[in-house]
Symmetry: C2
Amino acid sequence: MPNIFVKVPEPTLRRLPWYLAYAKLARQGGETHISSTQFAQKIGIDASVVAKDFSFVTLSGKTRVGYEIDELIRALDEFLGFSNRHSAFLFGAGSLGSSLLHDGGLKQYGLDLVAAFDVKYELVGTYINHIPIQHLDKFEEIQRQTRVNIGVLAVPVEVAQETADRMVAGGIKAIWNFTPFRIRVPENIVVQNTSLYAHLAVMFNRLREEQELEARNVLKQTGL
Amino acid sequence: MPNIFVKVPEPTLRRLPWYLAYAKLARQGGETHISSTQFAQKIGIDASVVAKDFSFVTLSGKTRVGYEIDELIRALDEFLGFSNRHSAFLFGAGSLGSSLLHDGGLKQYGLDLVAAFDVKYELVGTYINHIPIQHLDKFEEIQRQTRVNIGVLAVPVEVAQETADRMVAGGIKAIWNFTPFRIRVPENIVVQNTSLYAHLAVMFNRLREEQELEARNVLKQTGL
């Protein structure tokens, strides 16, 4: 078990899945051991950063030739929470929400969407990918019965805050926020923001910069 | 037009969509003007940060009572690239990939998936949400005809790097990487990593921390 009183830095938590993905790939390629140096080279991260990141994960499979891959994968999967099953509710079964219901990968990584809530009566009683859609008014009752405490927020932006308030009042402890709205919650509630559209904005901006840089280089080469 | 020679910091680019979402909400509520202080209070960000973020966006609608909302929304939409149409290809029409094809929100924010590529022959020739799925072998030809230069990468992790290499060789300039694999690309290629599973890991970890903190507090209160 990891030391529960050490707060793992977020950059570390974001890099660990990269190591996991690479380790799985190496295992498929027939390798049995892997070293920090290998990770560093293959993933393009400084070896000291890799070693520091791994210091948060208790690993027993370290040998002179590196980490034992099976053990490393098991330890990372467990540390990252991917090997446990976390039940979750989806709030908002519109365009983005229903696309999340279609993504079987979430379950593979430990997030099991067990029900979705929406206010549209035409959706209530239907299923997407075998997951039932219920009216939002049923949330509190179903939460009391199931004790599900993770909620995925994919409602329209204008009701993001009121839905988040209702989730928290109804027992949700962690909110995965897919809306572009910055919701406010009590201090003890975990919020993970994943705004696809904010990532899009970053990508569009960087692409524009690269294109402008290229245009300037062309102008320079032609002597203009 | 923004000053094209100033590189906009990524944290700014990530916050600007929050302001945009809030401004749209305020407009729906009937407001016509909005001040930096209002943003700061409503979104919970320091007013000086808000002012600094807005300094990157050329805004003409600033008055004594704050920004004119319509002008602010127009300027942010344009600056963030949401009001332009960017054609893009999807690579990998599996679970996550097809869920992205279902998400109409991407188009609303400027990303128009015009074709998907996969290697599974049973998918080739089919459509998801009116978007055609082609065999990956058609990519280079279709790229030459269309000049599409944005690619969304949603293939299995074991082929992430080779697919990225092929995308770059075939003319893709920006890769939105949804795989948990850290792909390596030439310096002039833009990569935006959006690993949903890395975000999941962060959320699981934070939730566990909160639960352990709560357990410790309960123990302390009961005098144990």
